[in-house]
């Protein structure tokens, strides 16, 4: 059985499996027909054509993504950006955390003050 026939049978049985590979299948057909007509064609020519098609396809996808970004996604960023509210919330939390931490450090039996006391006594305070 020829490769082409195997592929055709497979497409008939499971057409969804070949989604996105139509161009490759076309090349198989193209090469077979040309080989019959012209008595042989180099494989490079088919691959080269596929390269250009693939490049244009990638390019179209890239531009579509850019278009989506600059129209839909960008307007979302512009109109509904959560950053400002998050900054406000974080600033409030940060302020509270600072106050809590300062209060903890300034307690009489805090480790920080004990260490400071030890440092003071062992260097400057101890000499007096």
């Amino acid at each position: 059985m020829k490769k082409k026939d195997i592929v055709k049978k497979a497409i008939e049985n499971n057409p969804e499996d070949f989604k996105g590979f139509e161009e490759v299948v076309d090349i198989l057909d193209f090469e077979d027909e040309n080989i019959k007509k012209k008595g042989g064609i180099t494989q490079d020519k088919g691959v080269d054509s596929f390269h250009l098609y693939s490049f244009l396809d990638q390019e179209l996808n890239r531009l579509n993504l850019l278009d989506q970004f600059f129209t839909f996604k960008f307007s979302n960023i512009e109109d509904y950006s959560p950053t400002e509210k998050l900054i406000q919330m974080q600033s409030i939390k940060l302020h509270q955390a600072r106050e809590e931490l300062t209060a903890m450090i300034l307690e009489d039996d805090s480790t920080f003050l004990k260490r400071m006391e030890f440092l003071w006594n062992s260097s400057i305070g101890g000499n007096n």
Binding site: E23, D48, S49, H51, L52, Y53, F55, L56, D57, Q58, E59, L60, L63, N64, L66, D67, F70, T71, F74, I77, E78, S81, T83, E84, L86, I87, Q90, S91, K93, L94, A97, R98, E100, L101, M104, I105, S110, T111
Partner: protein, 178 residues
């Protein structure tokens, strides 16, 4: 319209003009931008022959002319400034040599077949749609948004550090009380 593959923009005409004559240079640059279809196809400008001073004023004038014409050096297609001394630029993409350019747009030009022609027509339509956006404004907004996000990240990092310190102090207290 040409296929979106790299095209060199020749600036030999500019080197004959004195760079101090800004108006003349700007008029010449307008012609170059329109002729070279900057922003509409991927381009590169070789600037090895320009002196440091001339390169600086050339880039400054090119930027202001492009901003006036509303064409973007990045979207939908990039314009690269090729110079071995230029490592980075805030407005343009740069490269040390043509060989080091991203290979995506290096393609052989061929006569298009029907399917390829159809894709190419779509590319032209979507490309025009992208360039019809006020890109300079949007990129500026995007930059501002990026700065705000960075600010948020700094705040979050600082808060996480304090919260960790508070947690450690509380744990220490618990250990001492036991």
């Amino acid at each position: 319209m040409k296929l979106p593959v790299y095209t060199e923009i020749n600036i030999d005409e500019l080197t004959k003009i004195d760079f101090k004559d800004e108006e003349l240079i700007k008029a010449e640059l307008k012609k170059i931008i329109k002729k070279g279809k900057i922003g509409k196809i991927p381009n590169y400008i070789v600037t090895h022959h320009l002196s440091d001073e001339n390169l600086k004023s050339f880039l400054k004038l090119l930027q202001s002319t492009m901003e006036k014409l509303g064409s973007s050096p990045k979207f939908p297609y990039p314009t690269y400034i090729i110079n071995e001394k230029l490592s980075d630029h805030p407005y343009f993409f740069t490269s040390y040599s043509v060989e080091r350019l991203p290979p995506h747009f290096f393609k052989k030009i061929k006569r298009l077949k029907a399917k390829e022609q159809l894709l190419f027509t779509k590319i032209q339509v979507v490309g025009d749609k992208v360039s019809n956006n006020p890109l300079a404004e949007k990129l500026q907004l995007l930059k501002q948004q990026a700065n705000r996000n960075r600010e948020l990240a700094d705040l979050t990092f600082e808060l996480a550090t304090y919260e960790q310190a508070i947690e450690e102090i509380k744990n220490l207290k618990k250990e001492h009380s036991v």
